[in-house]
Symmetry: C2
Subunit: 319 residues, 2 copies
């Protein structure tokens, strides 16, 4: 059995499961980032021991322990560096801390990589040899499974949210401090900020949100489904920029499948995947484009459990 | 021993060598593309048998035979599809044809992939786990060695010349029929066409070339070394677009080393690699950029022999 943790900006998922993805016990709760990572990790460990007891698994019987956490991560040292969304977490040697508690090997993985592995082993990318995963939540994360294994490069590979999709002084500012990144156009935070700025007070988006300042991507999706012009225009822009990223990734990686999470999964076939497929068919050579599929996430709400489990598999591969 | 062929638009290289890259016999000559691929291949085979005799290697002692050829290639069937620079070559089943002659396994590789392998095994990328190779000759070819092996994706991976580096109606037309590709800005053919169009008659570039219409990238490099303003401006533009490609590739692949061939190798440190390093340092997160190096080709004129040999290693890996 494997033990996994998925540490998000606001939630912690803990899971005990096996190599087939059968989950013996799981728990998700708000992570009250206390500002003191040692306190947070001790709370995680209490959860873990309760779950192991619930599943009837002795800690000594674990084959691997995994942690999926927001980057940047120092893979070589097993250290969470200083994720913008985890207050007080700065250079946290979480692999060493868990190594003091568990006999099994411990692996620390970046959350988007773990999610890519989860989609590949248990989700929308099962059976693919070459998978590109993109998630468009707060920022844009990416993970690459190439030739049937996670590709990390020198550590930071798969940061597809920071590929440039626009150049010049007018290009949008990204959370990373640079301009023109894919994330600056399709990331949830930046899009939400833009919506607050430009949503017309009389629009359907504003009506669904309550006020322009409360407009969020989900209101755009709902209004677009009702045929609202402003929402359709916003979504068209969002798809256009996402397609720019996918075009570049197609030429570089020629993947079998793109798995697109969060906003794209919520938007679905008509509002997202079909327009993206048309854009790729127009911009990518047929010999490459016809071998690539675009799919939504196959794991939904359970994604973090499978991501945590896949991070644990990396500690001690079951296959 | 291995037998390799590198088929270029104008030249054919044939080599007999071993797993350490020791070359027992080699030959390069003009490939008189006869318009009939069967005739061209028979000429290649005569060369091969003469070289094998010269090296004292029996054809039956070969462990692998490789062919590096311009794409597009059908890897699964071992077919050269219809390279724009090989007249009359259309759906040539070269693997099957060589398989009728040699007992050893035959592998057909795209030329840029073979060159990437050659730089990785014997050239500027020795010892790297993650290498991105770009060559800027007529077009822009690319090859990816990731996690210590060639990455092909669904077949067309590494076509980095067709990553978009500019969007919009004004962006330059590429040889592939699309607009805004990296190749449209930094490929030798497109740059040469541009130089013929815009080189001032009174410039140093025109003087070196004889006339504006004869201006080529090598004249720009020579004039830039002499401090010519027009040449420096052209090179700055060329570096700026090449940097856009390398920035995107850095975020996606986080390679240890970029090996840049042809025009970049000829331009060298001061005119190319140093400006590129500055551009990457400004646009790529330090955590990624500081782990990547930029180098020129380490094989020079012998590149095609090593590329041919590496294509042969793919038929029957020595390692």
């Amino acid at each position: 059995m494997w033990l996994g943790f998925d540490i998000g900006g606001t939630k912690l998922a803990v899971v005990v499961g096996d190599e087939a993805g059968r989950i013996a016990a799981r728990r998700r709760r708000a992570i009250g980032a206390s500002g003191d990572p040692r306190t947070d990790v001790n709370a995680m460990l209490r959860d873990a021991h309760e779950l192991l007891a619930e599943a009837g698994v002795a800690a000594s019987a674990l084959r691997g322990v995994g942690v999926a956490a927001p980057g940047p991560i120092d893979f070589a040292r097993g250290v969470v560096e200083s994720p913008p969304n985890l207050a007080g977490w700065d250079a946290v040697p979480i692999r060493a801390w868990l190594g003091e508690v568990f006999e099994a090997p411990v692996h620390l993985e970046n959350d988007a990589n773990a999610a890519a592995l989860a989609e590949w082993r248990f989700g929308a990318g099962r059976g693919a040899q070459h998978l590109v995963y993109l998630t468009m939540s707060t920022g844009v994360g990416g993970g690459l499974v190439l030739d049937g294994r996670l590709y990390r490069g020198t550590g930071g590979a798969g940061e597809v949210g920071h590929m440039p999709v626009e150049w010049g002084r007018d290009s949008e500012l990204c959370g990373c401090g640079r301009r023109g990144c894919l994330e600056a156009y399709v990331g949830g935070r930046r899009w939400t900020e833009r919506l607050a700025r430009i949503t017309p007070a009389a629009s359907r988006v504003a009506a669904l949100a309550g006020a322009p300042a409360q407009a969020r991507p989900e209101h755009v999706l709902a209004a677009a489904r009702e045929g609202d012009g402003f929402a359709r225009g916003e979504l068209e822009r969002w798809n256009r920029y996402l397609a720019r990223g996918l075009v570049a990734l197609s030429y570089v990686l020629a993947p079998e499948v793109f798995v697109l999470g969060t906003i794209a999964t919520a938007a679905g076939e008509a509002l997202c995947f079909e327009p993206l497929r048309r854009a790729l068919a127009a911009a990518v050579w047929p010999s490459v484009a016809r071998k690539s599929e675009i799919r939504g996430s196959g794991l939904g709400e359970d994604g973090p459990y499978y991501a945590a489990l896949c991070a644990a598999f990396e500690a001690s591969p079951p296959y």
